[in-house]
């Protein structure tokens, strides 16, 4: 591999890393807020799946990717509201409800997909996200083409990280969210509406999961297929926990996981002779090893998973 070959390798490796990390990161940022307010939402996988389908449906019906995004976000907001109603208002078990949302997502998307698109062989053409080159910045050698020639959701994902960090740790709203997650009763006694905060984080977080789903079906691909999220929602959950429930930690975890993916794609293409099952393990092993080795113990909010009821 010459110098140029190596450079190309690095550029495509980094670009792949960003593409793989993006859906996980967007969903994880939403989850950080949900988890911080004391709700465990394992239904994010199903929520993403609904976002994926509704994004395609919206874009197909209204002819624009923006309508697709809007449809997906609206639908996943509803799913979030449903989840919040069960877990916050009714105090149902969050893990069970989350599982129900996942199964619902699988069933509903399968049924709707076939109702709307049928069993036809051809894929209907739809409007999708376009690669946006940032003027000037995209001309920077190596990094320019990696960082500044991406689709809009990639920029959004990475810009959201500092925003989420500031909101969570530097604003009164963030403090409220954290206090609700740590000690809802104390928050309640000082006049914070615990239920309202939890509704807000769950619905907002679900919208982000919907956006993450959209990025898969309207960005990476240009169609919907059943079960296309393929576990990314669960990886996002893991990224939040490994990232110690912070936006920056989630970013690192998502990037690390993406790097593992990018690495295994390339190892496989190079034909190293190593059994591919080991290649598929790389992202998971890498993420676990690095985070377990360097990050240390991750402590969830004190009232994580506990429904709040006034006594």
């Amino acid at each position: 591999m010459g110098n140029e070959g190596l450079l190309n390798f690095i550029v495509s490796f980094l670009a792949t890393d960003l593409r793989c990390a993006t859906p996980i990161l967007i969903a994880a940022l939403g989850l950080v807020f949900i988890e911080r307010s004391g709700v465990v939402n394992i239904g994010v996988e199903g929520t993403m799946l609904i976002g994926s389908l509704l994004g395609v449906v919206g874009s197909y019906m209204f002819g624009s990717v923006w309508w697709g995004v809007l449809t997906a976000v609206a639908a996943t907001a509803l799913i979030g509201a449903l989840f919040a109603y069960f877990t916050v208002t009714l105090g149902a078990d969050q893990v069970v409800t989350g599982t129900a949302i996942n199964i619902l997502g699988m069933g509903v998307t399968t049924t709707l997909n076939r109702l709307i698109f049928g069993l036809d062989k051809s894929i209907p053409p739809i409007d999708t996200f376009k690669v946006i080159s940032i003027p000037v910045l995209s001309k920077i050698p190596v990094l320019g083409s990696v960082l500044f020639q991406q689709m809009l959701p990639v920029y959004v994902a990475f810009l959201l990280v500092p925003v989420a960090h500031v909101v969570l740790f530097r604003t009164p709203f963030g403090l409220t969210v954290r206090s609700v997650g740590e000690h809802p009763k104390a928050a309640d006694t000082v006049g914070i509406n615990v239920w309202k905060i939890r509704y807000a984080t769950v619905i907002g977080g679900s919208c982000l999961a919907g956006l993450a789903g959209c990025y898969l079906s309207l960005g990476v691909l240009s169609f919907f297929i059943e079960n296309m999220v393929a576990g990314r929602g669960f990886i996002a959950l893991a990224a939040v926990i490994f990232g110690k429930y912070t936006p920056l930690g989630a970013l690192l975890a998502a990037l690390l996981f993406g790097a593992g993916e990018a690495l295994q794609y390339r190892f496989q293409a190079l034909g190293s002779g190593i059994p591919y099952q080991f290649m598929l393990m790389i992202p998971y092993v890498l993420t676990v090893a690095v985070l377990a080795g360097f990050v240390g113990k991750s402590t969830p909010p004190a009232s994580s998973g506990v429904p709040y009821t006034k006594e």
């Binding site: 190309n8 390798f9 495509s12 792949t16 593409r19 793989c20 069960f86 208002t89 009714l90 105090g91 149902a92 069970v96 409800t97 129900a100 199964i103 619902l104 699988m106 069933g107 509903v108 399968t110 049924t111 997909n113 076939r114 069993l119 062989k121 051809s122 894929i123 898969l216 990476v220 691909l221 240009s222 169609f223 297929i225 059943e226 079960n227 296309m228 393929a230 576990g231 993916e261 990018a262 794609y265 390339r266 496989q268 293409a269 190079l270 034909g271 591919y276 099952q277 598929l280 009821t309 006034k310 006594e311």
Partner: protein, 358 residues
Amino acid sequence: MPRIGGSIFKKRALALGLIMLLALVTVLGCGGGKTEKAETAKEEAPAQTEETEKPAKTLKVALLTPGPINDRGWNATAYQGLQMIKEELGAEIAYSEKVAPSDFEEVFRGYASQGFDVIFGHGFQFGDPAMKVAKEFPNTKFIITSTDISQPPNVASLGNSNLEQGFVGGALCALLTKSKIVGSVGGMEIPSIIAYMDGFKAGCKYIDPNVKPLISYIGNFDDAAKGKELALAMIQEGADVINHDADHAGLGVIEAAKEKGVMAVGAISDQNEVAPEVVVNSALSDLSRAYVLIVKDILAGKFEAKCVNYGIKEGTVGLAPWHNWEDKVDQSIKDRMNQLIEDVKNGKLNIADYVEKK
């Protein structure tokens, strides 16, 4: 305070009720899986199960597929075969898709106990459960595809040569490439896909020993985004013709070809429609016709518990029409492919000679 306690209890009851409703909706919404769903499918879509008004007892045929019937590939061909059985032979049909391995036996039993005469299991993985359940239901015929098992009196199998299919795909890729590097993305490393990839490599070698085939696996059949990334990595390594054997996820591979403007060769069904601008042709493996033929044999009382092998000779493996590529592909390439298929048919070309020894 008893009043609030009561309201919490009411809320709990309501929550339980709503969760059960949600579960019910989900069960109704899911395409398939358990035996009850066969009935649900019947209720929801009467077109799928028609009672023909023949005086004689209508033949009842059921199908179990491992994946979704709209995957534009492996599972879709089985569904197509089932439809043909309904249309041509007037049979009553039912199907369960996306059946999980842990449910294989129960779904088989469900259909068999409902009096289905023929039950297809679409894939080698259905073999062992079928042989077990078949002993309990001697009057039901079990037919398993993509394997070579049999068990008298009522288990037979339809083998379709994945090796030959891969050979056709590999040969076409090797003829089309200019960079001498081609790639194929597989779903999982299971016997049928391994055989396909062996055939793919053999096909490349047969056309030009200098062509380097790259092989990658996704690890499942759903993750199209991963399929796309694997194909992009191959293109980065210099591959200029990309192929797949990954059913639903293979659509991601074609998407990668579309994005990078390289040629693609589809698999299993004619995938030109998916992306006419890049899909030159497809390595077909279409057992739908074989489905009809074996049910015809059963109707004629000629059923035998044995493995029937299909392949290039029987016309279930081969190439699709060239569609919009008719004029864009060199006549020499088309002639070479036709010759290859002829040579396999008349025994002049033995694919096994080109398969790497392990």
